[in-house]
Amino acid sequence: MEEGVVNEILQGPLRDVFDSKQLITDISGSGNNWAVGHKVFGRLYQEQILEKLRKSAEHCDCLQCFFIIHSMGGGTGSGLGTFLLKVLEDEFPEVYRFVTSVYPSGEDDVITSPYNSILAMKELNEHADCVLPIDNQSLFDIISKIDLMVNSGKLGTTIKPKSLVTSSAGALKKQHQKPFDAMNNIVANLLLNLTSSARFEGSLNMDLNEISMNLVPFPQLHYLVSSLTPLYTLADVNIPTRRLDQMFSDAFSKDHQLIRADPKHSLYLACALMVRGNVQVSDLRRNIERLKPSLQFISWNQEGWKTSLCSVPPVGHSHSLLALANNTCVKPTFMELRERFMRLYKKKAHLHHYLQIEGMEESCFMEAVSSLSTLIEEYNQLDATRSMPVEDLPRLSVAV
């Protein structure tokens, strides 16, 4: 939307990726105001957006899904982004809507981010088929870890002891100058791995509609925690089996998740493993067997695994794994968001910026919070079943 930002992209290394006919700009941004993004820009640009979408969609032989990538904290991403969801649902009801949302971290620079996020969450609850929440803090932690691993690798090879300290410090500084590039790279890889089965051949393909089908047991619970491994480029050509199994173990550790969450200690509703590279079905099955005992699955989905194998690995790696989990560990994120929202809302702080936009009322806020509370409650109910003993329900008895 913001002209300045769009122009910067058009001058950067990715300028050829974007079709200039598909860009819509306005002079200013949304001022971190969800209402401006959603109501003002939405109404203004609905026609234009629809037109461009229609043109692109007509080129497709078989339109499978839309990917919406946005942030929740700001105004344009969260407001206009979620407005688009409604538009897509009306125009293309049969096409799946996958949303990659960047949730605000604990310390973020936008003060009204809780308002924006909660208002956007309501739209995501109602109109998205599948949401992959991501937060900046986790991405940053992952980048820091990579830096550490890369530097410790370097430490091993440097000869001079004196330069160790200076060289590693220098390398770290260089990396932190542009962390967002590295962080965005992770999310880009997430999307690439997600669509790899649809783009390349493999022994066990998985289409995008299968993700929604298998991982969303109830329409409301469509939030998937993602984790990507491996995170660093493996220089070795000959990977011993230990590394492969390590990849699977890492995917379930809380350090590799793209959102602050610990899936191992929460309840799994379903899990998908998307493997790329030279991995065979026996490796996959062996690792599932190995990891299953340490994970808690809901009683009616004890073997809730969806697997896919794509033979083409990502650039620079020999194999990779993307794990998507529908897990109750997203609950803390939502609860924290609600907490921050209530802190601001109780004081009615910054509310007037929203209410002065035509179409916004206090009830919008109340509805949004109650929608989120319902979602949290559903997760609570599922968590409550964890402690209950599992009973097999009586089957239909048939007259013999």
Partner: protein, 334 residues
Amino acid sequence: MNLIQKEVEKCDCLSGFFIIMSMAGGTGSGLGAFVTQNLQDHYSNSLKMNQIIWPYGTGEVIVQNYNSILTLSHLYRSSDALLVHENDAVHKICAKLMNIKQISFSDINQVLAHQLGSVFQPTYSMEGSYHYRRNPLGELMENLVPHPEFKMLGIRNIPQMSENSLAYSTFTWAGLLKHLRQMLISNSKMEEGIDWQVRPPLSRLPTLGKVSLNRELHFNTSIANLVILRGKDVHSADLGGFKDPALYTSWLAPVNAFNVWKTQRAFSKYEKSAALVSNSQFLLKPLDTIVGKAWNMFASKAYIHQYTKFGIEEEDFLDSFTLLEQVVASYCNL
């Protein structure tokens, strides 16, 4: 259907249709069942056999249990016989017998192809005759599916091993057939790990009431069996062990329940090999397990909205459950 019609018109004598599909996914299971239904409507006089792949127990698709029960119930109504291959069993064969370290799908498919080949390769039509059977598909079904309630068939092969081991092994018909028979009655899917303790029951009194499934069903009762022998000295093979009435149900005598096909021609790299296609209780436990899991999931209403979106209602699920519970009960009471 147009494509099928073209192919059918090319045939001098249509034996039937052989449909290969999986049960866990959407295309194989859903479209496969749909096509079978259409074949039933358009070619009701032809025989249809569906070769179905039973998914891994630990899950390859989360809704595989739903897909499986919907598929099985539809196929039970429109197909004449179901030839079942279990991924778990074939995987074990690759691991234990073929000694493959990193099993890929092409390895699994190779075992499957081998099993199918051992059954459908030509055999002589009568003892001593030199004419090949014209209609193996039809005769197979005639022999093995005497009652429409019992349609599930399985294949067991012996021997099955890697090229390296083959060089050091010799076979006798007596040895092969002894193992094959025990594999049948102890419900073992492959040559290794056979439970030799299992014996046929002494008396063939009909069981009173429903046999409890919680108890391990050790003895695998057969409805009908077909043994196919390929290789040297095939006429000297003694099949008396398979004609024992204790192996079969009371309502079908061994003379009708048991058949044998032979050919001197060796199959694949095995000097002597035997295949057993049987209609028995071998699939009872896996079927019961899948129905149980699907039922649990259904009770919590999970994923149902995904199906109702496309026109499958809860009623359809219930119909499927009812049909399959009936099948489970029937096989249980053999």
